[in-house]
Each structure stands twice: as structure tokens, then as C-alpha cells.
């Protein structure tokens, strides 16, 4: 038995008939073709599948697509606007906040959510915000640097040229 689900993904309305057991992450990856959201554990631990659901960072591997029905999702593919990287993306690049890149989309979205409600986080607040996101490559230091750098960028937006 399938059920119709409508989710606004990165600003585009997406309607699909899905099995009730379909996870949000598979809705995004398999039905929307947005493979930037990764599956690392399917148990909510690693955070590679983190997306923003109605502005809140959630683990898409343990939310059913039907639970997100009527909601708004931002994935890593929807973060840049008008071809310009989000300041958090830029900062991850500049600070070498990624190596293999597999945890990166989730790590970036968890950081974006933090900076949305706390524009000037302390080091402790940053490590707390990404506590649900595992990275096995970087050892986190450059990720923490990146979030701090992004906070600075967002505090003083570049002047229009």
C-alpha cells in the first residue's frame, strides 16, 4: 500500500507515492536524485544524512518520508544560492574542514543550523552542535576552525562589489 507524500525540497515541490516504510533519506536520494545526503549508519549516530527539516537539523536515516509530509527540506545541494557557496561551505573549503567528504554534507548542515540560532558560538558550543556528526578523517580541528570562520564571515557580509 503506497501513500502520497509531498515535501518541498530545496524550494521545489516533490510529490511521490511511497511505501510507508520509506526513509526520508531514500526519498531524497532515490526519488529526488539528490545523492549528496549520505547514509553512514542508519541508526542516527553518524549524522552523514543530516538535512534541515523545517529549519531544524535532523537525521534523515531515521525519519520516515511520511513524517516529513508537508514539510520543507534543505539538503546540501540546496545550500548554495544563485551559484554562490554558503559561507559555511566556503569556510569548510578554506579551512580544509573535509578530507574524504562523506560526512561533510551532514557536518555542514549541522553547522548551518547552529549558526542560524547562535551567530557567535564558542568552541564548546560548536563541538556540542556537531556532537551528533562523526568524522573519521579530519580529527575535527579543521571543522571547528571552519565553523568559527563561517561565523565571522556571516557576521560581516562582504560588501557588494
Amino acid at each position: 500500500m503506497k501513500t502520497s507524500v509531498n515535501i518541498r525540497v530545496n524550494g521545489t515541490s516533490r510529490t511521490h507515492d511511497v511505501e510507508p516504510r520509506l526513509l526520508l533519506v531514500h526519498f531524497l536520494r532515490d526519488l529526488c536524485g539528490l545523492t549528496g545526503t549520505h547514509v553512514g549508519c542508519e541508526t542516527t549516530i553518524c549524522g552523514a544524512c543530516t538535512v534541515l527539516l523545517n529549519g531544524q537539523a535532523v537525521k534523515a536515516c531515521t525519519i520516515l518520508a511520511v513524517q516529513a509530509d508537508g514539510g520543507e527540506v534543505t539538503t546540501i545541494e540546496g545550500l548554495a544560492s544563485n551559484g554562490r557557496l554558503h559561507p559555511v561551505q566556503e569556510a569548510f573549503w578554506e579551512c580544509h574542514g573535509l578530507q574524504c567528504g562523506f560526512c561533510t554534507p551532514g557536518m555542514i548542515l549541522a553547522s548551518v543550523e547552529l549558526l542560524q540560532h547562535n551567530p557567535r558560538p564558542s568552541r564548546e558550543q560548536i563541538t556540542h552542535a556537531i556532537d551528533g556528526n562523526l568524522c573519521r578523517c579530519t580529527g575535527y580541528s579543521h571543522i571547528i576552525d571552519a565553523v568559527q570562520s563561517a561565523a565571522k564571515k556571516m557576521a560581516r557580509p562582504e560588501k557588494a562589489k
Binding site: Q99, T138, S141
Partner: protein, 789 residues
């Protein structure tokens, strides 16, 4: 031969070329591949560590709509070869490592049945419909008990649990032990670890019946070794196999293997006439991707009262699990080869016994045998210093080879290429403000706090390596092509998977050719473009792979000089080259650039006689020796008495990996490597219970470091070039993991030393520390702890 630095890329902390696709979420990992007609495989695995299979019922699964096939060992094994092991160790007993279990299973996670279906969900549903009748057998889980006469056997047909024995003996060990004033003895358990790359393994196999060829996309570190090894398993010739590694989400040695699933998906794609994908789940990853470490060693160090170390003895057991993967027997031999560390020991005896148990195989995990060596020798040096009342830094310095003694031959027979261990130690002590740190410890101890300082002076072996020590060759291949447009294509036989060589190789080539990095593309991870390669492991890519590129660049420059000479009316000898421009000596105004040369080389209208068209060169670099990076890590910790929690107060790392192509990437490797050690020292351990059940099968049970666990580092470096390659680079992928373990552990043990605690095995979990502290302080809790110097 010094690298040309016309653009000055070498040594610059440039951000990475590969990052935009990764931070935008538009990179392609293996699970992101979509092929027409793609089928999905799922594997039913043994829930038993050791059992006889009495029967398998697959009818219900076969009848599930959407299922394309259900296969048992009886169906698959006769059509395939065995999983290969590269070791040629004399006397090695190797069980037949088939694709699926035959009539027995040997570890929890052993593949028993494979289902192929139209979707991953249907494949998983079908697994639930399969019934396997097991007759459970006694499991072998303790490697020491496995050596007892009445032990059950992992592989009963072999008649023993001993897989191999290996002896490294050099020098007059007994004589030197007789001369020793003291013998420092310590038993050390190097716990089993799970690599846990965040991207699990996975592959997609597609067979092209018309050509009789196979393409395998797989999350691996070794596409080229797979292409060499796979023909023996699936019966397709090497020149009809193409292996592609798309983005690989972390390896750490765990993807340095030919795994059953890669071969089986290839076989099934041929058998079913449709592409087949398999993506590993996290639980599967924990149980059926290789584990690391797992040695027990009894070590003895012979020392004189003045701190001079004479000789080392070790009797070690390696618990290698139930099967041999690619390098399973080789890894613990690296422990033996590196057991002398940075010290001028005169003799060594390292006895190693590899033992089969009903567990997943061990193999290379970041550091691969060297962390065990460094940890053992560095613990022993600290124990020696404590027994002799010497400063841990001074006892180390006393036994270092001097900078002028390199190349330095160790008692184990290795030739350390270059080193200045004194300089790295001194720099680390300066950065740590050593004297102030000692005062801080004294004050803390007087206040009754458990404060400790740990030191590790390490050396490791990288840049693998001369072909004579590598089963399938230790060279590397690289190709550089100037395109007709003047753009440059670089093809490497190494397989970067996060290390950033798309950037650092462009830096190296850009400098030497005098071409802007924007005009360079680095191709990797596809055996159709890089025909040969020995891939990425053992921190070898830059030292060996980078050198193959330099050789190729130099060949192109030499040919370009001939062509430029012809165009400018001079002989090649009279042509100068700098910053991407060629001119006749003394006439720099009349210069030709790469763009013109590219056009001329391929249009081929004005070539001198006997000059082939094109500007492309490839090279195999065969290193004469490995490289030996080294360094010093200094750590200060405070242990909370009431909870056993360890807080890292200071972390100083000084690493010498030779000249750094890109210091930002070096720093990333060092920090990432240290995090793996931090996990090993403080939390991580793979646990099987006495029945062989895996208790650490998910991230929930296998605690890895999180951001909150990471200290703020003080990172420094020294630069001692290696004579093993023209750039002098040494490699840095594993240094952090090799150097950090003993520094953190020694700091914790130093913190506990005033309580009379001599040694605790890793991981130093809060409960373990709390119990040890309780035991030593019971009955005198009310007294103020006595301070010790």
C-alpha cells in the same frame, strides 16, 4: 634534483581542488551510481561464530516478487576462485577462503547466502525468508587459550590454531641481556580495533557480454591490485577488467583488500546479465570489514644503569581472526621490524605467532603494525626511565642515533634513511614549554591532582617501497600529458581517497612545468586511464607516486626542448627553460610557451626528423629504500579521581615528513591521525564475547572520538629530506596515529604513577582508571595524597 618552483606552489597551504564537488554534495560515491537495469544484492550472514550448516531453505525467498536470484555456497563457490592473500610467509597455513560459507561458518558475519533483487528493500525482505539450520560448535575467541593443547579449533581440518610463526633475530641478544643492569619487562595487550570509515564498503559490477569485459566500481584503496587479483577469482582476464574508484569515503587500510563481495557481485553480474550493486550496512561493516591491531606482547628491554638501552626481546601473539585477507600475516611482522623505534639497540629477538580465532580477519588499519611497535618501545622507555630515576626525554636522547649517523642501520635490519630526532624532540619541548609544564605538574600533584606528562619520540616506515619487499611490486606509475590546447592531464597510479593529491600533485607538476594549476587535471582511480599503479596505502602516494610524475615531467621537458629548438633554429642543448617558456640561450624575448608547443607537437607539421608527435610521458618509479618519517609528541593530561575521566590539557605534535608539498594537507593528516590514536587510547575496542558474538557491531557500542574529545593542538614540524626520492618527501598519512598513542598513554600513566600504578592496557576507559585509582587509594582516602617528583 630539486623541484622547479617557478610558480611557487610547492610548500603553499593551498585549498583543495577536489573540494567544490564535495561541499556541494554533487560528488559521486559508489552508492550514488545509477545504472539501467541495476539489481541489488544483500547478504545473509552467520549469527554464529562457529557452526556446521545442516541445511539452507531458500524457496520462500526465491518466490518473493522482485527477487532475481538466491545463491548459496553450493551455487557460487565452484564457479569462483578463492579470496587471495599476498603473503608468502614460509609455513603459512591458509584456509580455503571461498565466496560464501561451505558447510561451516567461521565467524559472526560470515556470508552464507546472497540475494539479488530489484531493490535493496526487496533484497533485505528476502533475507528474512531464508532459513538456515545451524549446529553450533565451540568457538575459539582467546588467542592464548587457542594455543593450548585441548583448545577447540577454528579450522578443525588444519589440526592447529597456529597460522604461522615468524622470527626476527639479530645480534647477540642473550649476551647483551647478561650485560644489562636491569631488564624492563612488560606485557602489553594491543586491543582489536574497527576502522569504521564513515562510508561503508560497496560496489557495482557491470558485465559487457559483447566484449566479454567487466567494469567494477568499488569503494577501495586498490583498484590496480584488484585488477591484478580479480582474474584469479572470477575468470575474466586482466585486460578485460576495468576498476573504477569513484569518491571513496575513507579507507584507513580497511579498503586495502579484495573482499568477497567485490568478487561475488562481479560474478553475479556476469551470471545474471544485469549490473549488480551491493552496499554494506554499518552492522555489516563492523563484522565483515577487516579489523586492526590485536596483538599480545611480552616485551623485555635490557638497559644499563646510565640509561643506555642494549637489546630488546618480544614474544607476541597476533589474533588474526578466521581467514587471511590480503596482508593479514604481514601486518604484525611490521611491528617486529619497527620494534627498535628511534633507538640504537644492538640486538633484537621478535617471536611472532599468528593465531586463528573465530573472528573477522585482521589486516592493515591506519599505522598497520607500526603503532604496536611504537607503543611498546615508548612504554618501555618510560618504564625504564621511571625505574632508573631518569628524565624520560634524556633517556631517549641518550639512545638516539646522531644526525650524522644516517643512513642508520637498525638491529632489525632496516636502513633508516635520514633523521634528526634530537631536533624534533627539542622543538616539541620548546613548543610545550617543557620546564613550565614540569612545574605545572608539580603544583598539581601538591594539590592532590592527577596530572601527567607523556612523551613519544617515534619513527615509522613509509613510502612503500622497494619492489623486493612488496609481493606485487612497490614501484609507482604516473603519466603527464600536455594536451594540444596547452592544458595538462596528470594520471596517477595512486588512489587518493581524501588525502588531496588532486591538489598536491597539481602543485608538484604545475611548478615543474611552469603551468598554472587551473590548467592541470589530475586523474586517479580508474584502471582505464591509469593502466598501472600500486595504489594508496603505507603513506606512499607522494613519495613514490609523486616521483613518478616528476620523472614524466622531466621527460616531457627534454622532448619539448628538442621541439622548441627545431622551431627556434637551435639545438636542444642551447634551449633554456623556465616558468613554462623555452628560448635560445641569451634570447629570452623570443620564447615559445607550452600552448604553442602543444599545438606543434600534435599537428606535427614542423617536427624535426625522428621526433615522435605528441608530448606525453609515463614513468615507473622504483624507490631504492622506504622513507622513515619521525617526530615527537608531548601530551599533558589530568585524570579526574572521582570519575576516571581523562582531560587532555596540552597536545604538542612535531612531525618531520620531509619537505611539505602542502602544509594545510599535512596538518589535516596529522590531526586526523592523532584522532585515531585518541580513540584507541581512550575509548575504542572491538569486543567479542566468549562465544564469539561481536558486541561492538554499531557506532552505539563502538565509541569513536567526537569533536568534544579533541584538544587544541600546538603543531610544529621539522624538515629532514629523505634521500629515497628527489623531492625528499617522506609521507604523513599515518604519522599521527603512530606517534600519538604512546604520548597520550604515557601521559595518563604518568598521572597515575604517584599512586603506584605501573601500567594499564588500552583503552583507558574511565571505569578502568577509576577502579585502578580506587584500588590504590582504598583505606587512605582521607589522607592528602603524597606528592612525588
Amino acid at each position: 634534483m630539486k623541484s622547479g618552483t617557478s610558480n611557487g606552489y610547492f610548500g603553499q597551504a593551498l585549498k583543495r581542488v577536489e573540494d567544490p564537488r564535495l561541499i556541494k554534495g554533487i560528488a559521486t560515491y559508489v552508492d550514488d551510481l545509477r545504472l539501467p537495469g541495476l539489481l541489488h544484492a544483500a547478504i545473509l550472514r552467520s549469527p554464529h561464530a562457529h557452526a556446521r550448516i545442516l541445511g539452507v531453505k531458500t524457496e520462500a525467498a526465491k518466490n518473493l516478487p522482485g527477487v532475481a536470484g538466491v545463491f548459496t555456497g553450493t551455487d557460487i563457490n565452484p564457479a569462483c576462485g578463492l579470496v587471495p592473500c599476498a603473503s608468502s610467509m614460509p609455513g603459512l597455513k591458509a584456509p580455503r577462503h571461498t565466496m560464501l560459507a561451505g558447510d561451516r561458518v567461521y565467524f559472526v558475519g560470515h556470508p552464507v547466502v546472497v540475494v539479488v533483487a530489484a531493490s535493496p528493500a526487496i533484497a533485505r525482505d528476502a533475507l528474512d525468508l531464508i532459513e538456515v539450520d545451524y549446529d553450533s560448535l565451540p568457538a575459539v575467541t582467546n588467542p592464548e587459550k587457542a594455543l593450548e593443547k585441548d583448545s577447540p579449533l577454528t579450522h578443525p581440518d588444519q589440526g592447529t590454531n597456529v597460522a604461522f610463526t615468524w622470527l626476527l633475530a639479530n645480534g647477540d641478544v642473550d649476551g647483551l641481556f647478561a650485560q644489562a643492569d636491569r631488564v624492563i619487562k612488560q606485557r602489553i595487550v594491543h586491543q582489536r580495533l574497527t576502522p569504521m570509515a564513515i562510508e561503508p564498503r560497496g560496489c557495482v559490477a557491470s558485465y559487457h557480454a559483447g566484449e566479454g569485459s567487466l567494469t567494477l566500481w568499488t569503494s577501495t584503496q586498490i583498484p590496480h591490485l584488484l585488477r591484478t587479483l580479480l582474474p584469479g577469482v572470477i575468470g575474466v582476464a586482466e585486460n578485460k577488467i576495468r576498476i573504477i574508484t569513484p569518491e571513496v569515503g575513507g579507507g584507513f587500510g580497511s579498503k586495502l583488500d579484495l573482499y568477497v563481495e567485490e568478487a561475488m557481485c562481479s560474478h553475479l553480474a556476469m551470471r545474471l546479465g544485469s549490473p549488480v550493486k551491493w552496499i554494506e550496512g554499518r552492522r555489516e561493516n563492523a563484522m565483515s570489514t577487516i579489523h586492526g591491531r590485536d596483538q599480545i606482547g611480552d616485551y623485555e628491554l635490557a638497559v644499563k644503569n646510565d640509561g643506555t638501552v642494549l637489546a630488546i626481546k618480544a614474544r607476541t601473539i597476533a589474533d588474526i581472526g578466521s581467514y587471511l585477507q590480503l596482508l593479514t600475516p604481514t601486518i604484525p611482522t611490521l611491528t617486529g621490524l619497527m620494534i627498535c623505534g628511534c633507538y640504537k639497540l644492538k640486538a633484537v629477538r621478535f617471536e611472532l605467532t599468528g593465531v586463528y580465532t573465530n573472528k573477522m580477519a585482521t589486516d592493515a588499519y591506519r599505522g598497520a603494525g607500526r603503532p604496536e611497535a611504537t607503543y611498546a618501545i615508548e612504554r618501555l622507555m618510560d618504564l625504564a626511565a621511571a625505574e632508573l630515576g631518569l628524565d624520560p626525554a634524556k633517556i631517549r636522547q641518550k639512545n638516539f642515533p646522531k644526525p650524522g649517523e644516517f643512513p642508520f642501520q637498525t638491529a632489525t635490519g632496516l636502513m633508516y634513511d635520514s633523521g634528526n630526532y634530537q631536533r624534533a624532540l627539542k622543538k616539541a619541548q620548546e613548543l610545550a614549554r617543557w620546564d613550565a609544564l614540569l612545574r605545572q605538574r608539580e603544583q598539581a600533584r601538591q594539590a592532590g591532582r592527577l596530572f601527567g606528562i607523556g612523551l613519544s619520540t617515534y619513527v615509522e616506515i613509509c613510502g612503500l617501497g622497494p619492489s623486493k619487499i612488496m609481493a606485487a611490486g612497490g614501484w609507482e606509475w604516473g603519466c603527464v600529458r600536455l594536451e594540444m590546447s596547452g592544458k595538462v592531464t596528470v594520471i596517477t597510479g595512486t588512489t587518493p581517497h581524501g588525502q588531496g593529491q588532486e591538489t598536491s600533485f597539481a602543485q608538484i607538476v604545475g611548478d615543474r612545468l611552469g603551468v598554472p594549476m587551473e590548467d592541470i587535471v589530475v586523474l586517479r582511480g580508474d584502471t582505464a586511464s591509469a593502466h598501472y599503479g600500486r595504489d594508496t596505502y603505507g603513506s606512499r602516494a607522494t613519495a613514490v607516486g609523486g616521483t613518478a610524475l616528476i620523472m614524466s615531467v622531466d621527460k616531457i621537458i627534454a622532448k619539448a626542448k628538442i621541439l622548441a629548438g627545431a622551431l627556434l633554429g637551435a639545438s636542444a642543448k642551447k634551449i633554456d627553460f623556465r616558468n613554462g617558456r623555452f628560448w635560445v640561450k641569451g634570447k629570452p624575448k623570443n620564447a615559445i610557451d607550452w600552448k604553442r608547443l602543444g599545438q606543434e607537437a600534435y599537428e606535427a607539421k614542423n617536427l624535426p626528423a625522428n621526433l615522435e608527435p605528441g608530448l606525453e610521458a609515463s614513468s615507473f618509479f622504483e624507490p631504492k629504500n622506504c622513507t622513515y618519517p619521525f617526530g615527537t609528541h608531548i601530551v599533558a593530561v589530568e585524570v579526574e579521581r572521582e570519575t576516571g575521566d581523562v582531560k587532555i590539557v596540552k597536545y604538542v605534535a612535531v612531525d618531520d615528513c620531509g619537505p611539505q608539498v602542502n602544509p594545510l594537507l599535512v596538518e589535516g593528516q596529522v590531526q586526523g591521525g592523532i584522532a585515531h590514536s585518541l580513540g584507541q587510547v581512550l575509548f575504542e575496542r572491538t569486543v567479542y564475547d566468549e562465544n564469539g558474538q561481536l558486541l561492538t557491531g554499531e557506532f552505539t557500542d563502538y565509541p569513536m572520538p567526537r569533536a568534544r574529545d579533541i584538544p587544541e593542538y600546538v603543531i610544529g614540524s621539522t624538515v629532514t629530506p629523505s634521500p629515497s626520492n628527489p623531492m625528499g618527501v617522506k609521507g604523513v598519512g599515518e604519522a599521527g596515529t603512530i606517534g600519538a598513542n604512546p604520548a597520550i598513554a604515557n601521559a595518563v600513566m604518568d598521572a597515575l604513577a604517584p599512586l603506584g600504578i605501573r601500567h594499564l592496557d588500552l583503552p583507558l576507559l574511565p571505569e578502568k582508571l577509576w577502579r585502578a585509582i580506587e584500588e590504590k587509594t582504598a583505606g587512605r582516602k582521607m589522607k592528602k595524597p603524597r606528592s612525588q617528583s
